[in-house]
Amino acid sequence: MPTTHTGLESPKGVWWTPAHPAEKIWVTIAFVWCMVLFAMMPLWHFKGGQNPSGIRRKVEPTAFFRRTQEFIAQYQIGQDQGIPIVAPPPGSDVYLTAMSFQWTPILQLEEGAEYTLHLSSLDVNHGFNLNPLNVNFQVVPGYDYGLKVQPTAAGDFRILCNEFCGIGHHTMVGRLIVVSGNGTASSGGAR
């Protein structure tokens, strides 16, 4: 065993020596725990229901916005505060454009149905936060993030921006409505 020394002193002689068993055991336990931490991620891709993979591709911001407008024209059922409300059929691709400082359109989805939700931005980075569920995604200009979503409960949700996008950032709130399977809207106007 080398003589004792502190971290401020150069170790004398050969310091490449075996560790005490107690230290070796801790390193082993820590290593095993690290493998568990790691394994959970690929495992969740196979067994879990929430993954941030989705469809990822580059897109011109203006092209994405045009696609959103076509989508609105196709399925619009009304409007709230000047923002169109859109009710796409189950299984369809739905488009949500973020721009300073607005989310457009307002989506009306059905409980239990699956949709592909496309997120992108017309200008700067924005943050998609579905309130009060607390589901978060980054919305990056020039990129189409297509996520399969399946709402599990009806309700009147909010989409708030949680990436700083300019001085009006805190006013950027959108709306997402989920109606129950029998077609009745759980709530019409704003909460």
């Binding site: 310091w15 230290e23 790691f38 949680n162 006013t171």
Partner: protein
């Protein structure tokens, strides 16, 4: 170079090179100035997020948020790290400072860069926050300021390596460098990687701000975080090096096993810079394989390193104390520790809060899927204030209580306050980080002026618990800021108006001198015999020479496992997404 440039330190016997000492002083002083600016910002920010007070207007909230981030995470921390690099490559190994004039030139460059950035931010020409995500645009001088600062830091880091090479050639030390210096080497290598990322992103962004080229928003995020997160990993390595240093100075901590501790630093160098991925887990530009490999530092090898240091640092302290004769039971070594020495209390709080709050939350929220319920909520600043403030800043403060007498040769001013400062700061940060983390679990966004959404088209009401938690964020923030102001007052008074410190008399407590210097932690005279006995394989239920530490890391691991799996459970409740 003449030998007259050196003085021998009366208390440690280390040889201190004059030009190195001057550079350490200058960098430390500017660092404290940046801390003061950042702490004033912190007070304004917590008083705004506390909705009952809501102090600042929206433009000033975002502006001050940017100022707070740059002043603290970049200027305070990096100037202090420059001082650490000078210290570890000269004083610790009795070596001289090479090319001191270049050191002053880099210092000048860094100060000019920092002033440019501060002026641009305060005058509203760079309302882009700390991350300055393209295509949010700031004045070109903002980006130029960052570049000048980074170039200066890069030169200092290179000089650190030059110092080591010259010291080796001049045979200033025998054998390998001490572990503290080895840790600083790790920090310096990570710094080079980090600063190169900085150049790779800020130079194109500077050109973009002049209209000379395009920068992709996602590529910016990828490379910027190679700077943004890796710079926090310089802090981790520097902080761990300081843990080993403060352990040695305060309780005579020994290196339990050089091989294990050094391998852990090597793991940092190899893997820790991959953490850029932590910020990109719910981004559209990167695939799951890239995310999993990078966010886990290639299968959590950097986490393994931290878990090793989390064992060897307290084990070294425990063994050091046991070798001084505090051998009874599991925890006599802790009970009889110098809790009135601010260097020691800072060390303990830094290790505990960094590990239990910062470390556990960091690994958990940096998990690919769990990040869905975390990204851009208050859980993120809750995490990194536990690492970089309660961990790194706390360790740097503890080190300062020793630098003042050792380098500045002054008594620590306001000694009574200095003894309680670590307690105040650590308690404040603990309340702050825990409250922020819980508020974030409700989905409360970070970097947000108004969560009552008074000017938004649709209202949102958070749980009433959120109001209470944000009140606690303010309370903790104000306590910690008070601790920071006390620290600044102590540092400024000691350095500029402090009582010069003559000889330190061993064995008598002196006002303004930490116990580790007046009562150096000397091991028992039969240290080797005692050490061999403590290392007996079968001793004390086979828990080894540091059984108390084994119990503590067991509690840590349990907390880690519970927190990690609770988060998976919470994630499983949200919508199916993929």
């Amino acid at each position: 170079m003449t030998t007259t440039d050196f003085r021998t330190c009366g208390s440690t016997g280390l040889k201190v090179h004059g030009p190195a000492e001057a550079l350490i002083k200058a960098n430390a002083v500017v660092s404290v100035v940046a801390l003061l600016i950042g702490a004033v910002g912190a007070v304004l920010l917590v008083l705004t997020r506390w909705q009952a007070v809501h102090l600042l207007s929206a433009p000033w909230y975002y502006r001050i948020l940017g100022v707070h981030g740059m002043s603290m995470l970049i200027f305070f921390i990096i100037f202090f790290e420059m001082a650490v690099l000078y210290f570890a490559s000269t004083v610790v190994i009795n070596a001289r400072q090479v090319m001191p004039k270049l050191g002053w030139a880099s210092f000048g460059l860094m100060v000019i860069g920092a002033v440019m950035v501060e002026v641009m931010m305060w005058t509203g020409k760079a309302d882009v926050l700390f991350t300055s995500y393209v295509p949010l645009r700031a004045d070109p001088l903002f980006y130029l300021g960052v570049i000048l600062f980074a170039v200066g830091a890069l030169i200092v880091t290179s000089m650190f390596f030059a110092n080591l090479v010259v010291a080796k050639r001049e045979k200033r030390y025998q054998g390998s460098v001490p572990l503290v210096t080895f840790g600083a080497v790790a920090a310096a290598i990570i710094a080079i990687i980090t600063l190169l990322h900085g150049a790779a992103i800020y130079i194109p962004t500077f050109l973009w701000s002049l209209g000379l080229m395009e920068v992709d928003a996602q590529i910016y995020r990828l490379i910027w975080w190679g700077l943004g997160h890796s710079s926090q990993q310089i802090n981790v390595a520097a902080m761990v090096a300081i843990w080993y240093m403060l352990g040695a100075l305060t309780v005579g901590a020994v290196v339990v096993n050089e091989k294990i501790s050094r391998l852990a630093f090597v793991l940092y160098i190899l893997f820790i810079s991959m953490a850029s991925a932590h910020h990109l887990l719910v981004d559209p530009g990167l695939g799951p394989t890239w995310k999993i490999v990078n966010t886990s530092y290639f299968m959590y090898m950097a986490v393994l390193a931290s878990m090793i240091h989390g064992f060897t640092v307290p084990a070294g302290m425990e063994l050091g104390q046991r070798l001084r004769g505090f051998t009874s039971g599991l925890f006599e070594w802790l009970r009889k520790a110098p809790w009135g020495d601010p260097g020691f209390s800072s060390l303990v709080f830094s290790v505990v809060v960094f590990g239990f709050v910062g470390g556990i939350t960091g690994v958990t929220i940096g998990t690919e899927q769990i990040n869905i319920i975390v990204h851009n909520t208050l859980r993120v600043p809750g995490h990194f204030h536990a690492t970089v403030v309660s961990g790194t800043a706390m360790a740097f403060m503890g080190a300062t209580y020793y630098l003042i007498p050792l380098i500045f040769r002054k008594r620590v001013a306001f000694w009574g306050l200095a003894k309680i400062q670590p307690y105040l700061f650590a308690l404040g940060m603990l309340i702050f980080t825990m409250s922020m983390t819980f508020a974030g679990s409700f989905g409360v966004p970070r970097r947000h002026w108004d969560i009552t959404f008074s000017q938004a088209p649709f209202g949102i009401e958070f749980s009433p618990a959120v109001d209470l938690l944000l009140g606690f964020v303010a309370l903790g923030g104000l306590l910690a800021a008070t601790g920071a102001f006390i620290f600044v007052a102590i540092a400024v008074k000691s350095v500029f108006f402090g009582d010069p410190l003559g000889e330190i008399t061993h064995g008598t407590a002196m006002v303004g001198v930490p116990a580790g210097l007046t009562h150096p932690p000397v091991h028992s005279s039969n240290v080797d015999e005692l050490n061999a006995e403590l290392h007996q394989p079968g001793r004390g239920w086979r828990l080894g020479p540091a059984p108390g530490t084994v119990v503590l890391v067991g509690v840590f691991l349990l907390a880690f496992v519970v927190y990690f799996f609770v988060n998976w459970k919470v994630l499983s409740f949200v919508w199916k997404i993929g």
